[in-house]
């Protein structure tokens, strides 16, 4: 029997294909130059812009592996971003006026992420304890989350000046933008968490067969709670990056539709939406693939309206290639054509 390809094979193949295309047809795509101790270039740009979706996709991978889906991550990004912005500006007549973190970036980050974690806990409770369907449970916060963020901000876009905090989105370390480092550490953390402990096995078992998992003594409810909290914290981090980058929190626009990008990244990365086996590296590659695509289209000057269509076409192609039925069928076509 042929050795099975890893589930993320087709996403990598497509990414390589796309980079190859750029190598020959997009002049300067691989060009890097250093200015003020920072590396600039399309590749760095891809990594930097992919960072928020990559972070979302890490949490989303676990949620999907546990037979769920988290539609609220975009809204949680807005919540976390708004909370951070309000902690900095402390507008009057809001609860934040009374919270003084003395401008500590660490304090702001931890506080915002704690709020995100509470959102995840809410999702997790609905799914595990009340057994709501994940799509419905997380739809609640997807809709209500932005409303909560607006309550915090008083309906305004909150702009702030805090260079230390802005570094999270705009700063650089060893020449590379901070968001890249954050996403990379997120990936490292998740890999360690899932494969260094038994969490990965329990998530896969719960997603593969929830009844069997319960009968085997796995606390499936607690696993569900955990994955939704992790997903929300990832969203929180992504939201902070976005807010820091523009030094403003826009409760309406921050992270809009990014939950869909994250789900796509997971699907493209080879994790089945039916739950069970998951691949973290696959999801990250999926996120990179989609950002590479967007950047390619932008740098080639193709009108942005086309972007979404091309994006959809590539995603469909990768997903079809993952389908055993489609592969069998196309092989059949190929054989017949030769005969």
């Amino acid at each position: 029997m042929k050795k099975n390809l890893p589930s993320w094979f087709w996403a990598v193949a497509m990414l390589v294909l796309l980079l190859g295309f750029n190598l020959f047809f997009t002049p300067g795509f691989f060009g890097l130059h250093v200015r003020d101790g920072r590396i600039y270039g399309s590749l760095v740009d891809v990594l930097n812009r992919a960072a928020p979706v990559a972070l979302l996709s890490l949490g989303m991978t676990l949620v999907i592996a546990a037979r769920g889906v988290d539609l609220s991550v975009g809204a949680i990004m807005a919540v976390a971003g708004t909370v951070a912005a309000c902690l900095i500006t402390r507008p009057k007549d809001t609860p934040f006026a009374g919270i003084d973190l003395h401008g500590s970036v660490l304090g702001i980050v931890l506080f915002s992420l704690a709020v995100a974690a509470v959102c995840g806990l809410f999702n997790g409770m609905l799914v595990s304890f009340f057994e709501l369907q994940p799509i419905v449970a997380t739809l609640l916060l997807m809709v209500a989350g932005r409303g909560i963020a607006q309550l915090f901000s008083g309906g305004q876009i909150v702009t702030f000046e805090n260079p230390a905090f802005a570094n999270l989105g705009k700063g650089a370390l060893l020449g590379l933008p901070i968001p890249i480092w954050i996403a990379a550490s997120g990936f490292g953390f998740f890999t360690l968490l899932c494969r260094g402990t038994a969490l990965g096995l329990f998530v896969e078992a719960t997603g593969s067969n929830p009844t069997a998992a319960r009968y085997a003594g796995v606390n499936a409810g607690r696993i569900l709670l955990t994955v939704y909290v992790l997903s929300a914290v990832c969203a929180g981090v992504a939201g902070l990056i976005g807010t820091a980058d523009i030094q403003a929190a826009d409760a309406n626009q921050a992270g809009l539709y990014l939950e869909l990008d994250a789900i796509l990244a997971v699907a493209v990365g080879g994790t089945s939406l039916m739950g069970g086996r998951f691949s973290l590296i696959g999801s990250v590659i999926g996120a990179l693939l989609m950002q590479t695509l967007t950047t390619t289209i932008l740098t080639r000057g193709i009108s942005t309206e086309v972007t979404l269509v091309v994006k959809a076409a590539i995603v469909v192609a990768v997903c079809l290639l993952q389908s055993p039925i489609f592969r069998q069928w196309s092989r059949g076509m190929f054989v017949r054509a030769r005969a």
Binding site: T197, A198, N209, Y215, A216, G217, V218, G276
Partner: protein, 494 residues
């Protein structure tokens, strides 16, 4: 209508089975699991096409190619699980797919009138505009029957219609069935409840191993005969097979004691003790409460009657996690739905219980996992011995062995085996049986559920006989014989 006769010379499922239903009779179709009841019904209702044989309805030979086809010919079926749409109204459900239509779409008044008429035939008067999901299971069952009657059915097949009904609802259903019988319908009735068979049916046909054993008038077939025909043992000429010597077991001190343990609507009157090295066999027909007993012991259901003592301490309201901690293990009856993690590897499938017991933080190192899995795979002769293969690609017998290995990895003191030999080949069956005996001698205890009485006799040191969700007998030592078990199942004096 003269009745249906059907020949079918398939290789496996059914072999030359003749079956006849007369107009105006209730004909019970009996047989253990895998006897061919459902295959026969599926042939009759057009789900399967027989390789050989013919179905004659009235004086016309028919060949239904799909369930729809069969319905048009006049053979309607009501399945065990209600196959209706809960959020549509009762009337819509009855007429679904054949709504009376006018120029302006569905004629709702005509539809409701038709639904009411169909329901009246089964003696139900409810508001047909109610949504089906809000009705009791019994009413839903009646609606399913009414739906079957809405087309001019000549034959009505009821596949275990009573399994999810309580006693009152069963009475209600039976009244409806009797009314239909008097209208001249031929009714095929499949059930596992012996009392119901005798209460309702005029004739009984028994299948065994895909062959017809015979057809009897219900009044002329004793319960004992019925049971022995179903399981294929002549009750009067049974050898007195003596089970594993149990004297040393009797000397041991019991660690688990159940007194009058039971649960409303599940199983009742469980009285037993489990000692180290004991195999407690649970015998009874399907639906007699065997699986329910196992569920109570593993904490999947909680008992609301009686007591369960472990090492002298009363335990109640515990879940599977605690059951595992107490040293219990459960091999489920339905491996696929409740046992395996299909896309995970053999190794992961084996390790999950041990890992769950250790907690998620203390991951079993991968070298140790490999070592354990390889060892268990070898000990239980799992084929292929490739521990990194997905378990879904293994045969049923090997999946079962891997699941046993899952429990052996945590060294349980009591293993609950629910039909451990179901659907696996003879070789694997034998291996599992001898494994149970070997582990028993090492001092492990088992609760062993099997439909095959021979297996129970061979392995059990004590047998509880269940009928209609009650314990009706307990056999020990030399008294454990197929004859005694069959007698107890049939309700004759032991």
């Amino acid at each position: 209508m003269r009745g249906i006769s059907k020949r079918f010379l398939g290789v496996t499922a059914l072999e030359g089975v003749e079956f006849e239903v007369r107009a105006g009779e209730v004909h019970a179709l009996m047989g253990e699991n895998g006897a061919g009841k459902s295959t026969l019904i599926k042939v009759m209702t057009g789900v399967y096409t027989p390789e050989e044989g013919e179905i004659v309805l009235g004086d016309k030979s028919i060949r239904p190619r799909s369930p729809d086809d069969a319905v048009k010919e006049g053979i309607s079926t009501v399945y065990q699980e209600v196959n209706l749409v809960p959020n549509l109204s009762v009337a819509e459900n009855i007429c679904l797919g054949r709504e009376p239509r006018g120029p302006l779409g569905i004629k709702w008044k005509a539809l409701r009138a038709r639904a009411e008429k169909a329901l009246a035939r089964v003696g139900v008067e409810i508001d047909v505009r109610r949504s089906l999901g809000g009705c009791s299971i019994a009413i839903q069952q009646m609606v399913a029957i009414a739906r079957a009657l809405d087309v001019s059915a000549k034959v009505l097949v009821l596949d275990e219609p009573t399994s999810s009904l309580d006693a009152n609802e069963v009475t209600q259903l039976f009244d409806a069935i009797r009314r239909l019988r008097s209208e001249g319908l031929g009714i095929v009735f499949v059930t596992h409840f012996l009392d119901q068979v005798y209460e309702l049916s005029d004739r009984i046909t028994i299948l065994r191993n895909g062959q017809k054993v015979g057809t009897w008038n219900a009044a002329e077939l004793t319960r004992l005969e019925l049971v022995s025909q179903m399981i294929g043992r002549d009750a009067s000429a049974l050898d007195r097979t003596i089970s594993a010597a149990s004297s040393e077991v009797n000397a041991a001190k019991p660690f688990l004691t159940a007194k009058e343990l039971g649960r409303e609507g599940s199983v009742n009157g469980l009285d037993f003790e489990i000692k180290p090295g004991q195999v407690l066999g649970l015998a009874g027909l399907l639906g007699s409460g065997r699986t329910e007993t196992v569920r109570l012991l593993f904490g999947l259901d909680s008992a609301d009657k009686g007591t369960l003592d472990l090492d002298g301490v009363s335990i109640r309201h515990f879940g599977p996690k605690r059951a595992i901690k107490q040293g219990f293990g459960l091999c489920v009856e339905d491996r696929k739905a409740e046992g395996i993690f299909p896309e995970l590897t053999i190794r992961e499938n084996m390790m999950v219980v041990m890992q769950a017991k250790q907690g998620w933080l203390r991951k079993i190192p991968s070298t140790k996992q490999k070592e354990l899995a390889t060892d268990l795979t070898g000990r239980l002769k799992v084929q292929p011995p490739d521990i990194e293969r997905q378990i879904q690609f293994l045969s049923g017998g090997n999946q079962q062995k891997a699941l046993l290995a899952r429990w052996l990895s945590v060294d349980p003191r009591l293993l609950l085996l629910d039909e451990p030999t179901r659907g696996i080949d003879v070789g694997a069956k034998f291996e599992i049986m001898s494994l149970v005996e070997r582990l028993r001698l090492e001092g492990k205890s088992f609760v062993f559920v099997s439909s095959e009485i021979a297996e129970v006799v061979r392995s059990a040191t004590q047998v509880l006989v269940l009928r209609d969700r009650k314990v009706v007998g307990s056999l020990e030592g030399n008294a454990i014989t197929e004859e005694n078990i069959v007698n107890a199942i049939a309700g004759e004096a032991v």
